[in-house]
Subunit: 235 residues, 2 copies
């Protein structure tokens, strides 16, 4: 069955959080040893992401946006990197790095190709303003920005995947999640959605490891978004 809507994961799938944060941290951490490198900082910040969302999922925290979770994680890791004395305006500005992550090289053009044939939306745990800023910054073209913030639930909560179908008045199988993460795709599949896995081998940096195997049940496996557009018959 042809999907009617493509729903895109964002962090890692459309934009390069690792490289973007590493570059921004060069000025603050350029001379530090490897365990305090800009790359280590990027990985440490991202490592706090799932545990922070888990505090919301478990009910320990009430609904909290990713901007605020990112800030809590940031405040927690700054001392490990010798940056405990960073002032408040600098912390606020640094936290907004997540609003200006660079897209992967193929992302903007391939989204335009895909959009000629499909309606495109985001489905990200990032909050709405963050996603709107990323789209403007990277010239990314969507029909609709959807976020965990709309559903007040974080992926992999079924309310998010089913929420996309409900918003567009579609059956779950008419929605295809596009993501670089097999756990996200598996949760969407459990809700009845289709899935397209995008490799993104450098998501965690040149030294990072990802399982890129084709040993998965999702409808598509693509090297990048142009490959997906080819598979979906887009011009």
């Amino acid at each position: 069955m042809q999907p009617r809507v493509l729903a895109f994961d964002v962090f890692g799938t459309l934009v390069d959080w690792f490289g973007s944060i590493e570059r921004e941290m060069q000025a603050l951490l350029g001379q530090e040893p490897p365990n305090r490198s800009p790359a280590a900082f990027a990985l440490a910040w991202r490592a706090g992401y799932q545990p922070a969302m888990q505090r919301v999922r478990s009910g320990e925290l009430g609904w909290t946006r990713i901007d605020d979770l990112h800030r809590m994680i940031l405040d927690g890791i700054l001392p490990q990197f010798g940056l405990q004395s960073l002032d408040e305006p600098t912390r606020q500005e640094l936290n907004l790095v997540w609003h200006r992550l660079q897209p992967w090289n193929d992302t903007a053009d391939a989204l335009r190709r895909l959009r000629t044939k499909y309606r495109l939306c985001t489905l990200s745990n990032g909050n709405l303003a963050l996603l709107a800023d990323l789209a403007r910054h990277g010239d990314l073209s969507f029909d609709l920005i959807l976020s965990a913030e709309v559903f007040k639930a974080y992926k992999p909560d079924p309310a998010t995947y089913l929420g996309v179908a409900q918003v567009f008045d579609l059956k779950p199988e008419e929605v295809m999640l596009v993501a670089a993460h097999k756990d996200d795709l598996a949760a969407a599949r459990a809700c009845g959605c289709q899935g397209a896995y995008i490799e993104r081998p450098a998501e965690f940096g040149p030294a990072g490891h990802k399982d890129l195997s084709r040993d998965h049940p999702f409808e598509h496996h693509a090297r990048d978004l142009h490959d997906l557009a080819d598979q979906l018959g887009c011009d």
Copy 2:
């Protein structure tokens, strides 16, 4: 104070619901007398809009999207226009006329001008999929589509205007509502938002009446969106 985000009302402000529905009804009602004319049909459909939302606001109906309210109103007025025998697929297709309303002539270009300087969002009682389809159909460019559907409240509920400020992490006075309806603008102003009134004299058709007076407290009064872009110093 310069606004940080412009939030746009949609029906009547950006798109011409009257003319769009009148044109689509020509085929079904072209030969009928004036009280059953396409123009009368457009006005009757729209006349059901506020009462239908009031049933949601009052709690008589649970949360119901505009697509479903439009359909309830449609089913109610078809008999008055001799169309009670319209079949289900035709009714469904006709109800989607609200997803393909034509923008006013200035809308698409002026939004592009305004977007070079401001972040733009919608703030409409229309549901998300309807607004996404309108934006694609009319080539309308926003940073973010916001809807009553996100806030689960219909304008003029303060949760909608304040919701825009919260989504963008702004103070209410940093948000400017742009609308062709003074009651909408007055409700936004009561929440602390700025306002820009757009005239749209033909909103209710050539025979319709609107109060276009400048006797109002809003920060801007503009003939159309290019006029507003000029007033806001956009190239």
